[in-house]
Symmetry: C2
Subunit: 359 residues, 2 copies
DNA sequence: CTGAAAGCGCTTACAG
DNA sequence: CTGAAAGCGCTTACAG
């Protein structure tokens, strides 16, 4: 509206009542620093941002004031103003599971190396399905610059509405959505690798625990792959299907029976936890591994696994975490949408001692 | 300034150029919702906050608009405006360590149960000591409503300048600062408990690995306590002091020698990881536990520990995590400063099989 | 090289 | 019960 005279300001910085009490701790704001350094807020900001250049003189005064006042910039104000934050969100399945703990740790590291801040949340789905996605919404609320999803609780469809606003990379989980980048484990290869080892050991009748996809997509993939590859080599497979969410001991009893009847000489599990539960149960009923039955797991993350001797496969968490962050970072820096890719990494077989020749 | 006429506004909501392109995803703001619902921003805010009451009619319109537009409130703006955030910061030592992973998990849970948001950071101290405290500063920058500190990297003095601005509770670490609340493990009792078991098993000459306080205050406490209590019962103690940061295998060799010489019939370690390293090394040189030497650890967190059989003590992570969050929450709600307390919890002995009578 | 001002998206007295 | 306005603490064109 040209022609309309601007209203005169009553004082400097509007009519904000300037409190003369010196602020301290987290209460000191940029304005306090500016005053102490005898410059404007804009200048303080420039010094802190590092650009555009400020005269060395003023720079020093500002730094001095920052130091003396112990100024810590308010990241919320920064984010709001810049319309973006350095926050990267990680949606984790369960930090109690060492495989996820490891992932978290590595992601944490990779993210800080990129000068970003990681925030972690764990979506539950126990509680009233009402806000099953509360964790997701909270992260989006914070306007994270990127999102790393590693839990099956969050479905691809839940993310769809936001795919244009925030880059999403799913890590360590089976991802097939055409618009979500994925960096995960090659569960087919994992299953095949383990199956081939069991087959090579001479087993002709094997029990395989296969959780339903509803329980865990990854475990389902692994288990199915094991079964398929065993069958491909003409081996008799006893598929023990488990649809019991949160009950890793499901199906163990049945496998124990098969072992005792001699109907199976080996038992394959889709993760170490289940394998350990079986080992425990077997020991309890006097069955020896691999004496009476061979046992294999999958994950290979738990410290001390070598002392247990479990034959397993170590998933490549390091590579997945690192690559996941790398991809996300690329997306966060990218102007336009990049081509969506689904990358998979395979881990390495861990011999152990619970896989032996046919008893 | 009474008498000074207010400058007339040129349009609604200042002269903000109203973009007519419908925003989507995370781009939709409260104003868009307001327009869609035919109300003011203030009203939308009230509906969302839940207070003060808004007519049921309008409420519904607003909720409808929120739903249809997929509105996710910007938490940074909320925080800035409310001068506080729901964020709780957790400074973690190393998520790779199952004991910390467990703590993280439990804190995560407790925090969400309180309707708060957890953000986690891991301060390194490998890198140039320059921004050793970068993680702390980033959290303070986000103006977290409270801080949970569980790593020794952050010293009490580093926190001092902010103690007035943000409630701090240290969890699971030895804390003695008079102004910082502490909820931790009773390492003295832990050491005593284990020492008494070893003594009761009849050992008269025991090797104890004691890391220096610089390496780990907690482990130092445990180890010292073990040694002291053994000595109190007239037992000969071989203190193996380790000052090697990040090298948990330090001192193991020496203990192996003592075992072989028969100079020690039991070896006590300040955590399970070190005990497992010893177990591995012992096995490698043909020493059996407890046949040739008894072994105890401390932590009891690793899954599958029972399969290894390590005699240890399970630290009460659950109680510490829960109580830590509880205390923090109390502080966050409190108007004035509460009395500072240092609470300690002791765990439970885990018999295992690596502690036996004197060989 | 530096400052005054507008704007980021909310909340919350202040007035009806 | 509802709206207009100020303010939270920054950043960043816009003008010198």
């Amino acid at each position: 509206m040209p022609g309309l005279p601007k209203a005169p300001m009553t004082g400097q910085s509007r009519s904000r009542p300037v409190p003369e009490v010196p602020r301290e701790g987290l209460k000191v704001r940029m304005e306090d620093v500016a005053r102490a350094a005898n410059v404007s807020r804009a200048t303080v900001s420039r010094v802190l941002v590092g650009y555009p250049p400020v005269s060395p003189q003023t720079r020093e005064q500002v730094f001095k004031a920052v130091r003396e006042l112990g100024y810590v910039p308010n990241a919320m104000a920064q984010g709001l103003s810049k319309r973006k934050s350095d926050l990267v969100g990680l949606l984790l399945r369960d930090p109690r599971n060492p495989a996820y703990g490891q992932l978290h740790s590595l992601v944490q590291e990779a993210v800080s190396n990129h000068g970003l801040e990681l925030i972690t949340a764990v979506p539950h789905w126990q509680e009233g399905a009402e806000d099953e996605l509360a964790a997701l919404r909270r992260m989006l609320g914070l306007r994270v610059g990127g999102l790393l999803v590693s839990t099956g609780v969050i479905k691809a469809v839940d993310l769809e509405p936001f795919l244009d606003s925030v880059p999403v990379v799913s890590v360590g989980r089976v991802e097939e959505h055409p618009r979500i980048h994925g960096v995960s484990y090659d569960e087919d290869v994992h299953g095949a690798t383990l199956a081939n080892r069991v087959a090579s050991a001479g087993h002709r009748s094997v029990a395989v625990l296969v959780p339903s996809a509803r329980v865990s997509t990854a475990e389902n993939r692994r288990g199915s792959s094991m079964a398929v590859h065993l069958e491909g080599r003409g081996i008799t497979v006893h598929r023990i299907v488990s649809d019991a969410f949160g009950r890793p001991e499901a199906g163990i009893g049945r496998i124990l029976e098969l072992a005792r009847e001699g109907a199976a000489t080996a038992a394959m599990f889709p993760n170490d936890n289940r394998a350990m539960i079986f080992l425990r149960a077997a020991k309890a009923v006097g069955l020896d591994a691999p004496g009476d039955i061979s046992v294999t797991g999958c994950d290979g993350i738990i410290p001390g696994l070598d002392l247990i001797g479990l034959t397993t496969l170590r998933i490549p968490v390091e590579r997945v975490a690192q690559r996941g962050v790398e991809v996300l970072e690329g997306l966060m820096g990218a102007r336009a949408g990049t081509e969506v890719r689904h990358e998979k990494f395979a881990g390495e077989f861990v011999p152990g001692t619970t896989l032996g020749p046919v008893a």
